[in-house]
Symmetry: C2
Subunit: 116 residues, 2 copies
Amino acid sequence: MHLVPADRADRRTIDGHRVCEAIAAIGDADRLRTWAERFSLLADANRLALLLALHRTGPLAVSDLAIATGMNDPAVSQALRLLRAAGVVAGEKEGRVVRYRVVDADVRGLLEHCGD
Amino acid sequence: MHLVPADRADRRTIDGHRVCEAIAAIGDADRLRTWAERFSLLADANRLALLLALHRTGPLAVSDLAIATGMNDPAVSQALRLLRAAGVVAGEKEGRVVRYRVVDADVRGLLEHCGD
DNA sequence: TGCATAGCTGCGCACCTGCGCAGGTATTCA
DNA sequence: TGAATACCTGCGCAGGTGCGCAGCTATGCA
């Protein structure tokens, strides 16, 4: 395997073959960025609280989320907008109430994972 | 269940009981922050690349990691310092080479999770 | 001993992020 | 129609983050 890109092929390696293994292990850069972005969505305690609440108790209204988390409404709204733009949550409008839920399967997996 | 803290007990709720369920679902604030910090360590593409390389190919030297990821040495070193301070990786010195590996079980679980 | 190499550190800059505040829109109800 | 409610948005600030650069320490080898 010769996976080292041309622009760094001249650098000295410690374990040459393991470098190639490492490059293969890292894989596609796009997939990498996608996962990093996913993790960054869970990397804030407030957003994580919102997601856990939605994941474990089902659809919830914005102001109820605000009370449950101790945030105030605009902060909740902005966090949900971010999560919605990323395709992690979706909101359904019923009258003047919007109930959100988690729709991304990967994120749900991560939320399960941090349960124990 | 009356889990709503006193400082927000006067606010109007949409679904009162679900707010209590949500508070229970969120759980302990410390555990929440711990997980958020864990996620934030994986929330950078470079750090994630380092961790995936270490996780999947075993112990690797700093300069090999730099070549594999395309970062330069100080950046790798700083990222590893951060991860080491968080107890995620550990380094073993052999002569003038330091080989790092992933030692945190939770993070390893997350790295497995983002394999597919 | 002298030199090259592996790795670490401090500093500074550009960039991003979360959130509070003030104000706007849409829906409900008297 | 007017008031109250649920939610959303734009703006600005404070704080954090990643990384390049220059320079340092420690190890190995001729």
